[in-house]
């Protein structure tokens, strides 16, 4: 306890720190490969993206120190305040925001821009941790479920309207956290059914999905009537209710897809579902990224040798599509390594989260594991062509100062909380 006062590094989990540096380093190598040109080989060249990223990385060290400087209790105490500040910063975008690539997600500070939605994740995670760790909180209660939902819902809606639906989608990760803390399993089931119905509706169309669900509904009814099942008397209301909700969901999916989504969003789903084959314009990214990864083979083309990388065949290959560089230049071995590093990184977070004595720390740890996991799954899934195109960054890899700082804050807050696990609570 004495040493705690003098040494801010006391008790921190060096394994996570090591993972952090490995990911940052390998990520930057790939950003360098994506953006280096023959003319600019100077590392600290501010005009190049790899140069800027290096500055962001260097500036993240004081940020880490700043995070470690505060007591764990500080974060718990001010979680609500942080959350509210974050909501204001998101809302403020609609007034002061800067529009880049069609989304008003940035504050412009002259030389650089910050994207508050990247920091919002940490704030939401703190808020959820704070809420769930309250003594009276019980996730089996409907009003408590509603509280958690509202905490997640407000930033997600604000981000959706930027519009940046990809970043908003990340908040669905919290369903794993809430489940861990006692949310009934049927929420997860409903989630999967909803996802299934969503895809089925897009794939088979509104009419067939409705007809199919009616058929299924009739079969279930026939089953109950035929066997004169006792459960039927109690259950039929539920069954009819579930059916009506499903039908409503199908209808709304169809409506949202055709009337709310923009054409580019529709295209992304259609391509993935194989309903549209067009490798030239709308399917270009996915097609190119898949070809680029495939061309890496076993050992890859080598650093700075990936011709599709160097020819910039994959757009945005320094941000969302950075994994294509890993695939092409480092091959299967490199891709496998990156995936394994992520897996061990995530499992390490879970392991540490489970050993927390404080519920707050545990929920927070679970939250960041779920967030990193969602980013990892959606990003790489998209790049290797098994998920629709949803533009969210790969943690620690993708170019972008806000994302890097956002993930750094997420991780080191947890490292701070973990370092204090054995005392002070």
């Amino acid at each position: 306890m004495r040493s705690r006062k003098t040494n801010i590094f006391y008790g921190i989990d060096w394994i996570l720190v090591l993972f952090y540096f490995v990911l940052i380093f390998f990520g930057w190598i790939n950003i360098y490969s994506a953006t280096a040109t023959d003319e600019s080989l100077d590392l600290f060249n501010f005009s190049t993206e790899y140069g800027k990223q290096l500055i962001w990385i260097c500036l993240s060290f004081p940020l880490i120190l700043l995070i470690l400087l505060f007591e764990a209790k500080f974060y718990e105490k001010y979680a609500s305040l942080i959350y509210i500040v974050c909501l204001f910063s998101l809302a403020g975008l609609f007034v002061f925001g800067k529009n880049i690539n069609g989304a008003t997600s940035w504050y412009d500070f002259g030389g650089f821009s910050l994207q508050p939605s990247e920091f919002a994740k940490a704030a939401v995670a703190l808020a959820i941790a704070k809420l769930v760790s309250e003594k009276q909180f019980n996730l089996n209660k409907l009003n408590n479920q509603a509280q958690a939902l509202i905490i997640l819902f407000i930033p997600a809606v604000l981000i959706t309207f930027q519009p940046d639906p990809g970043s908003a989608l990340v908040y669905s990760a919290f369903v794993f956290v809430l489940y861990r803390e006692g949310l009934p399993f049927y929420y997860i089931t409903i989630g999967f059914i909803a996802a299934f119905l969503f895809v089925a509706t897009l794939y088979f169309g509104f009419l067939y999905s409705i007809l199919g669900s009616i058929g299924l509904f009739l079969l279930v009814l026939l089953y109950f009537i035929y066997y004169r099942n006792k459960a039927f008397k109690k259950g039929w209301v539920k069954i009819v209710g579930i059916y009506l909700i499903s039908a409503l969901f199908i209808f709304s999916v169809d409506f949202v897809f055709n009337n709310v989504f923009e054409q580019r969003h529709r295209d992304r789903f259609n391509i993935l579902l194989g309903k549209t084959v067009d490798v030239k314009s709308i399917g270009y990214n996915t097609n190119q990224s898949v070809i680029t990864i495939a061309s890496g083979g076993m050992t890859g083309r080598g650093f700075l040798e990936g011709e599709r990388t160097q020819g910039n065949f994959v757009p945005e290959n320094q941000t969302d599509y950075i994994f294509t560089i890993v695939g092409e230049e480092w091959g299967f071995i490199g891709s496998l390594t990156v995936i394994l590093v992520f897996v061990f990184f995530l499992l390490r977070i879970l392991q540490i989260a489970e050993r927390q004595k404080s519920k707050f720390s545990r929920v927070y740890g679970y939250s960041i594991a779920a967030i990193f996991f969602t980013h990892f799954t959606i990003n790489i899934g998209m790049v290797i062509g098994i998920l629709p195109t949803i533009g969210i960054p790969l943690p620690f890899f993708s170019y972008g100062g806000s994302a890097l700082w956002g993930f750094t804050v997420l991780l080191f807050l947890f490292i701070r909380l973990d370092a204090n696990r054995s005392y002070e609570w």
């Binding site: 011709e307 995936i339 394994l340 879970l350």
Partner: protein
């Protein structure tokens, strides 16, 4: 399941799915992995060097180059275009356009292939202005062959676009490129072609060229093709072709002291310039499908004919070598017939029973004398098989009965029978020399090509050796193959040649010699007429000759299909050729005119009419 396990389970599940997908993409599925230098990120362009020129032995230009413009296509880069305008510019129909486009796309969507070959210069001028409108198409300059002298297409050959089987055999070539497919263009393809230069250009995703790929380390400079100097004397070649107008057959003239082919004539022939340009394929199929005149058959190299009487020279030399006859031994011809077994053969030498010695036998072309010599040669040995083999090896030492193994693209073996052949033919009866007596006078089983016969003549002229006949005298910056500079000796001793050559000399000199009519003043020509029976109709007219008698400069063999008899067409043509080569002109213009104007077309047409009803019978 424990609640805390779900996320860990999902993490591992997703990782397994990702790794499987990557395993499939990067290690199993090969359809995405393209070879480095062929991928769409790297554009490959070629610099075609100029094909080497071809000159004759005196430096006259025979084959040169002219520029041509090919419209190339990279199908995957084609954007929707005004096809009507494009077709109009290229003078093709829309159906052609679709056909060519599909063909190119099937071959490869990203490798350039020829869309329309050899656009004329005037079309090129228009096209060049408008080409920017048609994405995915570009113009490639290429040189085409040009033949200043309309002569010797059989020697020069032609170049044509490579077909897909050639591409599979030799990866150097790509669809739309040119390759020598006949004549010296084929045999000296690599010499003439040079090596194309390759440029790899790195492109970004908009297909913009962003500079040489890897700083150009894979790029090569084109190596220009080398010029060839042929052994052909183009004046003699052209003269021979003129003499052979309206006749079918072949002439081969060789310089005995080197084996250099001075003239290689095959008739009927065609203008080599026809094999160039956009009409080429139409004309080529016309020539190719003309199975009656067969202009694409090089009769000088591939035409297998019974050699007829000139072969008697070899029969005599073999008999002399085997010592079964001497210069002075004689034979009588009773009732103008030569009797063997129960059969007889016409003597053809009108000696009316007086004894005939070697010299006279040659210049009167006495069948009986040579039949007797042949028979004695074979019967010298205990079994006819052994005798036959000895005779056969003597004949083969003159380069007959096998490929000459030279630098010409085509050839035929001909046929020189040996003991085995007759063992097969007569497996159950003992056969003897008389079974194959016609071989003695070049009928029977023996078949030769004109070039073999010319080479045989050169061997006789050299008194016992020859150099493999070849067509290339000099390659720019390269030695010719040494197999052409080493003499090949026959199995006949030098001393036996003189009496035979004396006889050949008398064919012209003696008033009763069979070619006395063709004698040329001031040149000592030795020669031998031939009249070969054949199953297709009128006898072939054959002649071999060399001159001068001592230190010979030219040996020649002339075949005129269905030319009745040796001294009617082949003899005069041979002597005119010799005179042209040695003196530069003729002393008997009337004879020359007779050859220029003489035609055997009626004779050939007769075969057509006669043979057609036979099929219908």
């Amino acid at each position: 399941m424990k609640r805390s396990g779900l996320l860990a389970f999902l993490i591992i599940l997703v990782a397994i799915i990702f790794i499987s997908r990557l395993f499939y993409l990067q290690l199993i599925n090969n359809s995405y992995t393209t070879p480095t230098l062929n991928s769409s990120a790297v554009k490959v362009t070629y610099d075609y060097p100029e094909r080497g020129y071809v000159y004759d032995r005196k430096g006259t230009l025979l084959v040169a180059n002219q520029l041509s413009y090919d419209i190339m296509i990279i199908p995957r880069e084609v954007k929707p275009l005004d096809t009507l305008e494009f077709c109009d510019l290229l003078k093709i129909t829309k159906e052609d356009f679709i056909k060519k486009y599909t063909r190119a796309k099937t071959y490869s969507p990203r490798i350039p292939s020829t869309f329309v070959a050899q656009v004329s210069k005037s079309d090129y001028a228009y096209l060049q202005e408008k080409m920017h409108k048609f994405k995915g198409f570009f113009i490639q300059k290429r040189s085409l062959r040009e033949y200043p002298i309309k002569s010797a297409p059989n020697v020069l050959g032609y170049i044509s676009e490579v077909n897909e089987s050639m591409i599979l055999k030799n990866p150097y070539y790509q669809l739309g490129e040119l390759i020598g497919t006949a004549g010296i263009e084929k045999t000296y393809e690599e010499t003439l072609r040079g090596t194309k230069g390759v440029k790899h250009i790195q492109r970004d995703r908009f297909n913009r060229e962003i500079g040489p790929y890897k700083g150009g380390i894979y790029d090569t400079l084109p190596v220009p093709g080398n010029d060839l100097f042929l052994t052909i004397d183009s004046k003699l070649q052209k003269y021979g072709e003129d003499l052979m107008v309206n006749k079918r057959g072949g002439i081969v003239a060789i310089e005995p002291s080197t084996g250099e082919i001075l003239a290689l004539i095959s008739m009927p022939t065609y203008d080599p310039n026809l094999m160039v340009g956009r009409e080429r394929s139409k004309i080529f199929s016309q020539l190719y499908l003309d199975t009656i005149r067969n202009p694409l058959l090089d009769r000088g190299l591939k035409g297998e004919y019974p050699p007829g009487s000139p072969f008697k020279v070899i029969t005599a030399l073999a008999a002399l070598q085997e010592k079964v006859i001497t210069e002075t031994s004689t034979i009588k011809c009773i009732n103008n017939k030569y009797h063997y077994g129960n059969r007889t053969m016409a003597c053809h030498c009108n000696t009316f029973g007086s004894p005939v010695a070697l010299n006279k036998a040659i210049y009167r072309s006495c069948n009986s004398y040579f039949s007797n010599a042949y028979r004695k040669t074979i019967e010298k040995y205990p079994t006819p098989e052994e005798g036959m083999n000895v005779w056969s090896s003597h004949v083969k030492s003159f380069g007959l009965g096998n490929y000459l193994n030279n630098d010409l693209s085509v050839g035929s073996k001909g046929l020189v029978p040996d003991g085995n052949l007759y063992n097969k033919w007569y497996p159950n009866v003992g056969w003897s020399a008389t079974y194959s007596i016609s071989n003695a006078i070049g009928q029977g089983e023996v078949l030769t090509t004109p070039i073999q016969l010319a080479n045989m003549t050169a061997a006789v002229a050299n008194r016992g050796y020859y150099f493999t006949p070849h067509i290339v005298k000099k390659i720019e910056g390269q030695e010719i193959d040494e197999k052409f500079t080493i003499p090949k000796h026959t199995s006949i001793d030098e001393k036996y040649f003189e009496p035979v050559i004396e006889g050949l000399f008398n064919v012209f000199e003696n008033p009763r010699g069979t070619a006395h009519w063709s004698k040329v003043k001031g040149i000592e020509i030795c020669g031998k007429t031939g009249t070969a029976e054949n199953p297709h109709g009128q006898d072939h007219s054959i002649f071999i000759a060399f001159a001068p008698k001592d230190n010979p400069k030219i040996a020649i063999a002339v075949f005129v299909e269905n030319g009745y008899w040796g001294s009617r067409w082949a003899g005069p043509i041979a002597s005119l050729m010799i005179e042209k080569y040695l003196k530069g002109g003729t002393s008997t213009p009337w004879k020359e005119q007779a050859m220029f104007n003489g035609s055997l077309e009626d004779e050939y047409n007769k075969q057509l009419i006669e043979e057609t009803p036979q099929i219908e019978k």
